[in-house]
Amino acid sequence: MIHDATDVISVGQSLPELSRKITQDTINRYAEASGDHNPLHVDPAYAATMQFGGPIAHGMLVLAYLSETLTGAFGEQWLKSGRLKARFRGAARPGDTVTISGKVTKVEGGRVTCDMAARNQEGEVLITADAQVTA
C-alpha cells in the first residue's frame, strides 16, 4: 500500500504494478460471473469473423485489475471514495499478459488523482483511466 495514515503521497509517485495472464478460461469465468456472454468474448468461431479476429477479454475484466491495483494502493479509501473514468482503447486476448501501472498526478483538497493504464506484453495500451480517491 502506498498510503496509510502516516504516509505522504506526492505527485509523481508510482503505484505498485500488477500483472495478470489472460486465458480463454479467465474470460469464460468472468462471463459466468458477469452474465456477459457476448460471443465476442466466449465464442471463438464467431469472434474470428469480427474485427478483432478472435475472442477478446471483457473490458470490465481488465478494469477489475486496475481497481485491484487501486485497492492495493489505497485500501479501504478506494472502496468508499474511489472514482474511475476509463476508456477502452484496445483488446486483451487469450495469451496476453496485462500489466496495470499508475502514477499520482495531483494531490489537492484531500483528493489524490492518478493516471492509470493497462498495457499488454507488447506495450500496447488497452485502457487509460483517471482515478481519484480521498486519502
Binding site: A33, N38, L40, L61, W78, R83
Partner: protein
Amino acid sequence: MPLSLAALAKGDRLEPVGIDLTDEWVRGYINAVEDQAIVGMGACAPPMSLAALAIRALLAQSPLPAGSIHVAQELSFLRPVAIGERLYTHAEILSRGDRQAWVMMGVRLCVRDSAGDLVMDGRATITFPLDPERGD
C-alpha cells in the same frame, strides 16, 4: 422474451432488480478476476463486483446485441459493501445516437442498498451494430 438493448431509447428505465450479495457469487467473482487485494479488506466485496452485478442484472433484462463493444466506463464507489447485503441495481438509458451502421449508447448503472442509498454509480458507453429490425 427480454427486449434487446438495441430496442431501447433515451430515457428508458429498466425495472430495479434486488440481489443478495452471496458469499458464493462473490467468491466466484474474486476467482474470475483473481483479486488478491480484497483479501485484506474483511468481508467486503471488490468494488468492481458491484459493477459486474449491475451489468448482470441489465443483461438479464435487456441482452446486448451481438458484436457490442464497451467503449468507456465511469464509476464511483461510495462505501464498502459487505458480503450478505441486499442490493438493488438500476439501469437507465442516458443517451442514444445512431450513426451509419452503429449505435452509440450511454447507460447509467447504479446500485443501492436496502436503505435506498447509493453504493455504486456509473455510466457505461457501448457501441453495437445497428439492426434495421431493432425492436423485433
